[in-house]
Symmetry: C2
């Protein structure tokens, strides 16, 4: 399933006419505007298409025939006509066919595209007016507000104001509803009531101050008591006289100008960007030309609306390119750097942001408090289900949250062991391939690598363990030690179900050697570091389960669990320190989990710690926290950590704080997002994903029970504990592919490691975005070395995932040079394997 | 001028009834609700007050008499009645008195407060219904939308839905307009139209999904063709029969429950905060009791709405405490950590945030672009008016922006001088008392101090210069060297006008020795550091003009200018490097200005660099960037700096990036804010501030000309270049005060350094917030050591500044033990001095 393209054509202006209310004169305005363009003098001839997506009421009164009658040569279309003169959501009752929102908007788009394809830019211009029914938020056939239904196309809006008493309020409110859904209002139209309520005077001024131009239109003639003939004659005269006035020329010129400006903006944005923008993580030398910069016009749901470039138009079907459609939808496959959870342009989150902005703006948080911050802290502390965590510290992003977490842990350790961190080098323990952000403190917590090696103030302060990884190869899950470390960490282990990898009891001391090997290895390492080399460590800092920036490395959960256990039991200070009696107190060194990428449902659970059944002393979260809207982060800490900063002296406090600490917008949006995510997680869609994975994995009833849960409560109660939205068949298919080394899939994340390191992942990425042959959907993705990964939101539909999965398969074959014949042959073999496997 | 208190009383429920449109049955609903409460069974007796702030139309049809007629014992008030049955903004034409928005809302508040004062909690409850005219955004007498006029009180809203065709749309839009202004909608009411349009069915479901409860109310009887008598009888019967139904009990119980919940939230929020929140920059040990935590219910304009505590109620007038008003307005004197510029709850910024959220959400910025980010980059690069700056890098806060700036500068230096920053210690040059943020890299750029001394990974990497400061003492501006450094930096210098301190020509080589002294001092220092000690420096990093966190230190601008000049001419590398021929290229080491606090109009100019007439190579901005709404920051850099990262290898790029890099909400809100600030800066209010300061400073016409402008263009063309919103008389008065050491005032910043270091500033701060004796306004402020500072927004009105200034004077006397007699005596002396001075 591809997204609907946003409606911007080179040679056709498509407008959506909304009314501030019902009966405000939308159709009269549409007719007048249409009549103007058709009759207008100029080099180019205009053709008019009037589209009424949904119409209710008797067919003889329909708006389309009205427009046709008064505008010579106009094409008119009504897509769905329902007889009863009520709101469409009521009128559809008993109808044979009720269009879904998606179907409706696609049909409208197809109609306009066809119009556009017929025009030649040199001689013609097209105007298509899409007129909605009722007010801005009047329900469509499905019951959803119309402004939501048509949002994917995001046509420029002309809002017809309400001229009646109370119409000032309803017009401004309607404009606000459109604005918060991301529409651009090209113009507001007010019928001039000749001084009765003076709405137009007020609205012209009000919208002028908001940079939205407003225009007055001559009053509709009085028609009461007229016969049909008289009425038609009067209106004919009205349209004839009024459609070519100076005022109408002004309005129409303005509409054309806005369209031209939008085209110019789209066409120049990449070069303007090139001139002024320094992109993150980008070697600007390698951006060969301006078209390499993707231009987003907007985004909705899972899709960006990207500007077509010569590259993106390559391979596109002839009729799609016709009419010069300027934008195309691209699936946001990196979830915009792992942030998205509830879809772009989610009106609920927009409204939540606006509410908090309206209630507070930003308010000082030092020495003070506000409700959204407290609710969020409580929700997170409860949600993590970790009895150790008691306090919430707010910052702005993952990197600052990591800095705070590290400051917390080091202080606690130095205080207990009486070390002086300002003089001695206190290090951290971690994993190779870790990443905690780009500020110096966060960088110092990762081992030297390509990201930090050229940063002048970077000083890696720690020791980073090698570790075994989990991957699927040829349909089988395996735990593999790093190269050449089979002696220390054991030979590869194989598992039928991913859940079995997490079955710590089965893999534990009673049943197997793996557990013992890990413990020995970690202890020996620590002895060398601490006892032999005399190094001092202040924290264990790691990303649970998936090391994202390191290349989507799936750490063997047993190793991570063991690492925590050994560290917590280890004696890091030469002098004996009496261990605290409180079981919630940290021992060894504090354990900090960086859950910025993996937390908050990314892997299918509120926290990945729960999958490890480990309770960190410090846990940091960001990214999905606001559902993907704006920056906010938290560092959650235990009471013991908090207490390390208590003293009568201010200088002992955690003297850290950012200007917008706990900004109410972020906190309230986060509260709204977390609530929404909780609903979705327990809703039908996610339950189906879980059940499907379970079924496809051949789990038997009761195979996965809660025996490894430490606190007896886990949210998932149906199907597998570990599962992937991407579906087992796709994951298995990929893992068999000749070009693929291995696959990783958990929760919403799918990562494909390709065999050939040199640019093959980048080639696949480019094909997914730009090569339309045989694929329905364009996919924007990111690569990390030889790994291409994809990510979904909690709101992504199975049909969209299927389309993206199909595209991935097709492009993988295509970039690996696999022919159709080979594909068919292989398919047969794989089907057999798959059936065997799924048994 | 104090803010209007938000409307929350212990023993009285005040509700605002808004209609989704005009004629939707607001008054019928208000009457029904009133009738219910008056007649309702229960322990406590309810009294009803119905307030119509503004009514239009014939007095005999007025809503208040209607309510009085149908609800026994109800008090009714109409504050303003205008005869013509049109919108209030039209009806007021020709009226003798047109209430301002402020007057109107204060009158309503006073009325309710009086009601509340009469009740006894044990026996009575009060219900006050404030019914607006028309729809939610219908204009009030001033022409402003009503929802904006009444926003300061932020009463819980009952929204009466529109039962007519199109009413679904208008009701939801009205609710959205209220929401984005920060209102809480307690309930939506829908008249049950018995299946005609079924609006109530739809709205109940829709609002239910939004967590806003909706209720149906029985349909209003048919009254057409009735005589007045019949009509009254019918309605009497309707109210009698319908006011005590189960449905009405349910609604009324819900209203009471919501009120109780809000009280509970307000009362428990501080203790909930104490349980879960780890505050920034806070020694939690010193928070003696829960009431020390300020609870913000909301904020609007310059004022917080704070929860009353036993402390804040002390000294309050009897009648103010009556009725247990739970909230009080406190002037946001720290501009919420220096972030505020356009007032809290600014509806324009809320709408801007919502628009960008609706259009984009967050979208991936690596390798891609969007319009708001490009516009913002262009606006900033143009606004800074610095020909060197060419590129904009986005991050989340001042600290991350500083980290990026430092990374940029160090790389450029190391590349040119062929140093290896990963092995050698490359330091920065700066000023003592500097502050650049709390992440490790930003901390390392500040000298060891109380903020960083206990941070384990902090390693001060630099040399920080002593410098002379600017201050006003006893009515005179002086430039003072640090203690014991008069030999190196010269004896104190005195100036009549602050502008003279910035008159670099007059203070330059031709006329005085100061310039030469500074140059010698800096050169000698550098020779010791570089030549004798062999240290390597990669950047000059400083805050122009005001060092905020260091204690509002006002650096002698001549010193800062000189420092830049000397550094740019100095040879930092032993090996000769051919200086670049491009005059926009950096020399010596790159100059980084941290303008996070001082930039974007905080000091009255777009950038403080323009006051210094210095063009930094790197400039960082945050705080005011979004007008005070949410975090966003930029690091602006020169082309030469940008070029230092170009190479064919990705590892040479600036590998820095945060998830929400250039988030569209932040960028679009910033664009909206900067535009708005530009309008305000050139508007009447700021012009008056400038002219007033100039007049009060006794400037002669043409005294300050543009002779020190390097590029011939400066925005300020009327009055002084340096000026303060706080007004000269206040600044001078404070500088004479026996308890004051000196004062600093520039732009929106006022800082008062007290003589006695031990807690006197804290005492003044507490008095400003909590001691209401003889003062009109409560002021929330922050202190830095012995310095108490205040800050205003660009939207703050002179009358509010005056009230805050008066409070400051009063409390300063009061905490310094100055009696009224002494005050009167001194006033006389000061007036004479002042007159002499102002001559």
């Amino acid at each position: 399933m591809s997204g609907v393209p946003s409606g911007l054509w080179q040679n056709l202006i498509a407008l959506q006419v909304y009314g501030a209310n019902t009966n405000v004169g939308k159709t009269v305005f549409s007719t007048l505007l249409g009549a103007h363009f058709v009759r207008r003098a100029g080099k180019r001839k205009w053709s008019l298409h009037y589209i009424k997506p949904v119409s209710t009421g008797p067919i003889e009164d329909a708006d389309d025939s009205y427009v046709k009658r008064h505008v010579e040569g106009a094409s008119v279309t009504t897509l769905f006509q329902f007889k009863e003169p009520v709101s469409p959501h009521i009128a559809v009752r008993g109808a044979n066919f009720v269009p879904t929102d998606d179907y409706l908007v696609r049909r409208v788009h197809a109609k306009i595209k066809k119009d556009a394809g017929k025009l030649s830019w040199e001689r013609h211009m097209g105007l298509t007016i899409v007129e909605t029914a009722g007010g801005v938020l009047s329900p469509g056939p499905s019951g959803a507000p119309q402004a939501d239904i048509f949002r994917p196309m995001r046509l420029p809006v002309i809002l017809v104001g309400d001229h009646r008493l109370g119409g000032i309020a309803s017009t401004i409110s309607a404009a606000e509803s459109l604005t918060l859904r991301g529409y651009d209002i090209s113009a507001v139209i007010c019928f001039d009531d000749k001084g009765k309520y003076e709405n137009s005077d007020y609205l012209l001024k009000y919208f002028g101050n908001m940079d939205i131009p407003a225009f007055t239109i001559p009053w509709i003639p009085q028609l009461e008591g007229y016969t049909q003939e008289q009425e038609r004659a009067t209106m004919r005269e009205y349209y004839e006289r009024q459609s070519l006035t100076d005022g109408m020329y002004k309005l129409a010129d303005f509409i054309v100008q806005r369209h031209t400006e939008r085209l110019t903006t789209m066409n120049k944005l990449a070069s303007r960007t090139r001139k002024t923008i320094w992109h993150p993580f980008t070697q600007h030398k390698t951006i060969a030309n301006t078209d390499d910069i993707l231009v987003w016009d907007s985004a909705y749901g899972d899709y960006f609306q990207a500007r077509h470039t010569p590259t993106s138009l390559k391979g596109i079907k002839e009729e799609d390119a016709a009419g010069k459609l300027l934008l195309y939808p691209a699936f946001d496959g990196s979830a915009s750097w792992w942030t998205q959870g509830l879809g772009h342009g989610n009106p609920r989150l927009s409204l939540a942001a606006a509410y908090a902005a309206g209630r507070y703006g930003h308010v000082m948080f030092a020495g003070a408090t506000h409700e959204p911050a407290v609710i969020l802290a409580e929700t997170l502390l409860k949600g993590t289900d970790n009895p150790r965590l008691a306090k919430c510290f707010y910052t702005d992003d993952g990197s600052t949250a990591a800095e705070v977490g590290i400051k917390m842990a080091l202080r606690a350790t130095c205080k207990r062991y009486d070390w002086d961190g300002s003089k001695e080098n206190i290090e951290i323990l971690g994993l190779k391939g870790s990443y905690h952000g780009d500020t110096i403190g966060a960088m110092d917590a990762s081992e030297p690598n390509v990201y930090n090696e050229k940063v002048d103030w970077y000083r890696g302060r720690g020791y980073w363990f090698d570790f075994p990884t989990v991957k699927m190869k040829s349909g089988e899950w395996m735990v593999e030690p790093p190269k050449g470390m089979a002696k220390e960490l054991g030979a590869p282990e194989f598992f039928t179900h991913l859940d079995d990898v997490f079955d710590f009891d089965a893999r534990g001391p009673g049943q197997g050697r793996r557990w013992w090997l890990y413990e020995q290895y970690i202890k020996e390492r620590l002895d060398i570091l601490v006892k032999r080399q005399g190094r001092r460590f202040g924290a264990l800092v790691m990303e649970p389960i998936l090391l994202g920036a390191g290349g989507m490395l799936f750490v063997d959960p047993l190793f991570q669990r063991k690492l925590v256990e050994v560290v917590r039991a280890y004696q890091f200070s030469a002098q004996e320190v009496i261990p605290p009696s409180d079981p919630l107190h940290w021992t060894g060194v504090p354990v900090l989990f960086d859950e910025v990428f993996t937390g908050l449902n990314r892997l299918g659970h509120f926290t990945p710690s729960s999958l490890l059944a480990v309770h960190p002393d410090i846990s940091i979260h960001a990214k999905l926290l606001t559902g993907g809207l704006l920056p906010l982060s938290v560092t959650l800490a235990s009471k013991a950590i908090f207490n390390a900063f208590l003293s009568p002296s201010k200088s002992d406090a955690l003297l850290h704080g950012h200007s917008y600490t706990a900004h109410p917008i972020g906190c309230h949006v986060a509260n709204t997002s977390l609530k929404e995510m909780e609903v979705l997680k327990n809703g039908f869609a996610w339950k189906s994903f879980r059940r499907k994975w379970r079924r496809e994995s051949g789990h038997r009833g009761g195979h996965v029970v809660k025996r490894w849960s430490m606190r007896g409560r886990l949210n998932v109660d149906d199907g597998a504990k570990t599962w992937s939205m991407w579906g087992k068949p796709l994951v298995v298919w990929l893992s068999y592919h000749t070009a693929v080394d291995h696959v990783v899939a958990i929760g919403s994340v799918l990562a494909v490691a390709l065999k050939d390191e040199e640019g093959s992942a980048a080639g696949l990425r480019d094909a997914l975005l730009n090569d339309r042959s045989y694929t329905e959907v364009s996919v924007h993705s990111r690569v990390l070395g030889n790994v291409l990964y994809l990510m979904a939101s909690l709101t992504t539909l199975p049909k969209d995932l299927d389309a993206v999965g199909d595209a991935l398969k097709q492009k993988l074959d295509s970039v690996s040079g696999i022919t159709r014949g080979q594909r068919n042959n292989r398919k047969h073999v794989q089907d057999i394997t798959w059936m065997k496997y799924a048994e």
